[in-house]
Amino acid sequence: MSEQPLLRVDQLVTEFDTDEGTVRALDGVSFDVSPGKTVGIVGESGCGKSVTALSIMRLLPQPMGRIAGGNIRFRGQDLATLTFAEMAHIRGNHIGMVFQEPMTALNPVHTIGKQLVEGLRLHKNLSLEEAVKQGVDILDRVGIPSPDIRMSEYPHQLSGGMRQRVVIAIALACRPALLIADEPTTALDVTIQAQILELIKDLQKEMGMAVMLITHDLGVIAETCEDVVVMYAGKVAEQGSVYDIFDRPAHPYTRGLLQSIPRLDTQPKSRLSVIEGMVPGLRDLPAGCRFENRCPLASEECRQKPPAEEVIADGHRVSCYHRVSV
């Protein structure tokens, strides 16, 4: 990761005001996305993956959510401090996003064409005619049959897989330098998932864009990502190249996660290893390491103070007092 990153998230802190006080959903999250590379963000439900994406896009729910610390440098510019208008220019134009819920990402009362053409006209200053032409092109490119007819259809007329293609088409219409995809295939069947992931890979090669792929599926991570960020309860537990994470996992959480997935070649009905217990809630986070209550290696030290992130090899960073060396 020595080259200049396209995106550098540095010590990001994101908070929400709730009825029962302020909760800190992200607590010092740092990672880089290099140009043209795919970074996977993985972790269990509630660990802060979507909040990370929404913070970068400056789309945190208002007025409850806010960036309370750190910065988000995109091509050197701190997105955390941009005005709404400046950010609107970056969004869609330089950074595209595919949201976790494909249906909420599409406006049910507008045609596919209208939603596709809007962004192109706004950001690229195209004539209607030119925008329509490019819209049809991109629909065709994401594998939608008869794209010119589809332009005048509404989201509910499409299948789940087709909708997700449309969402991707909209995110990519302006050829952004970075695509943030939040669980783009989770709601889809495996055969359709394979189509969509292949599509993202192809378009990435063609356009040279970087991708930040959020998923909880370690199989998807292994097959599509160069770098991986493993999150746990609002912090980064471990990050590194996909080989660091799969071949030399150093954090007990990463190791536990990798060992607990059933694989096609494991003995049927054999015992799967488990990570005992469950993730602490944001309101009762432990004082020390957040994984402490489930960690097989936890010691007194772990309960006292959160471990700092250490670089254990080029690009491979771990936050653990008892990291495993391989």
């Binding site: 495996v190 199989g219 996909v242 096609l264 494991t266």
Partner: protein, 331 residues
């Protein structure tokens, strides 16, 4: 061995209502001629894409639905046409677990009440005995005894699924239809629940119909697997055989589409084009033919029947004999 459950040519055609007369001219053939069996203590995995009819099949078996054709027999007796009033003894033997336990657990009842309910309905035991059984059930599924007075929303997803499992085993059933029991859970929690289910099966000689779309999970828990496509079973075999020697082109694509958590594996996969067609107007001939990479002319007109292609291995494809068992579908 006589099978515990035997399903023959089962059909569940839902009427699709339309027009001002509310007459149904079309049917959603959610389950369209399924035959299968499950032996005591065995797990049959059922895999297929969204909408192919897995849940509908499961619901017919527990007789939440009245099938529109075919037959179901349990332990040798025909249960296809049992009237709702006559279903009570069946409930003792066949239970169901759902994907989202929150939907199936009454949120206004405490866990104690939820677990006691099946005992009450069956008129089993006196108050103290039932209370003891509830404590025992909590203990079996690994929940603390104090959970009795708590409500479902106070528990995490994995814990709620344990409550759903405890309720399902309350009456010592012999078969549990498990509809996506771990699909909503994180991997670290999923493995806890899968281990529990395997342990319970061994301890109580339970049979499972295990429905899921994650083939790796299904393969982990199943003795045999049935692959479903648009209301029909297209292939069935022992788990290991199915994974290593899949015959049907659909099974092969399904296996090849599974993302493998190993970055060193470079899979050349066969990516299926197109979406799953609607069960209201399924394609003629082999339902899979519009997406099948090997389809020939006759596939478009003639439906292939499920034929024996190896020991306890059946596949419904016209090219069964040309698609050799030796070809490793996973590349």
């Amino acid at each position: 061995m006589t099978p515990l459950l035997e399903v023959n040519d089962l059909k569940m055609h839902f009427p699709v209502r339309e027009g001002i007369f509310n007459r149904s001219r079309y049917f959603n053939r959610a389950v369209d001629g399924v035959s299968l069996h499950i032996n005591p203590g065995e797990t049959l995995g059922l895999v297929g894409e969204s909408g192919c009819g897995k849940s509908t099949l499961g619901r017919c078996i527990v007789r939440l639905y009245q099938p529109t054709g075919g037959s179901i027999s349990f332990d040798g007796s025909d249960i296809t046409h049992l009237r709702p009033g006559a279903l009570r003894p069946l409930r003792q033997n066949i239970q169901m677990i759902f994907q989202d336990p929150m939907e199936s657990l009454n949120s206004r009842h405490t866990v104690g009440e939820i677990l006691e309910e099946p005992l009450l309905v069956q008129g089993l035991g006196k108050g103290p005995e039932r209370a003891a059984r509830v404590r025992e059930l909590l203990n079996i599924v690994g929940l603390p005894a104090r959970s009795v007075s708590r409500y479902p929303f106070e528990f995490s997803g994995g814990q709620r699924q344990r409550i759903g499992i405890a309720r399902a085993i309350a009456l010592n059933p012999r078969l549990i239809v498990c509809d996506e029991p771990v699909s909503a859970l994180d991997v670290s929690i999923q493995s806890q629940v899968l281990n529990l289910m395997v342990d319970l099966q061994k301890e109580f000689n339970l049979a499972y119909l295990f429905i899921a779309h994650d083939l790796a999970v299904v393969k982990h828990v199943s003795d045999r697997i049935a692959i479903m496509y648009l209301g029909r079973i297209v292939e069935t075999a022992e788990s290991e055989t199915l994974y290593k020697e899949a015959r049907h082109p659909y099974t092969r694509s399904l296996i090849s589409a599974i993302p493998i958590p190993d970055p060193h594996r470079n899979v050349e996969r066969e990516i299926l084009t197109g979406d799953v067609p609607s069960p209201i107007a399924p394609p003629a001939g082999c339902h899979f033919h519009p997406r099948c990479p090997r389809a020939e002319e006759r596939c478009k007109v003639e439906y292939p029947s499920l034929e024996l292609v190896g020991e306890a291995h059946r596949s419904a494809c016209h090219l069964n004999n040309q698609l050799g068992a030796s070809a490793d579908s996973t590349g």
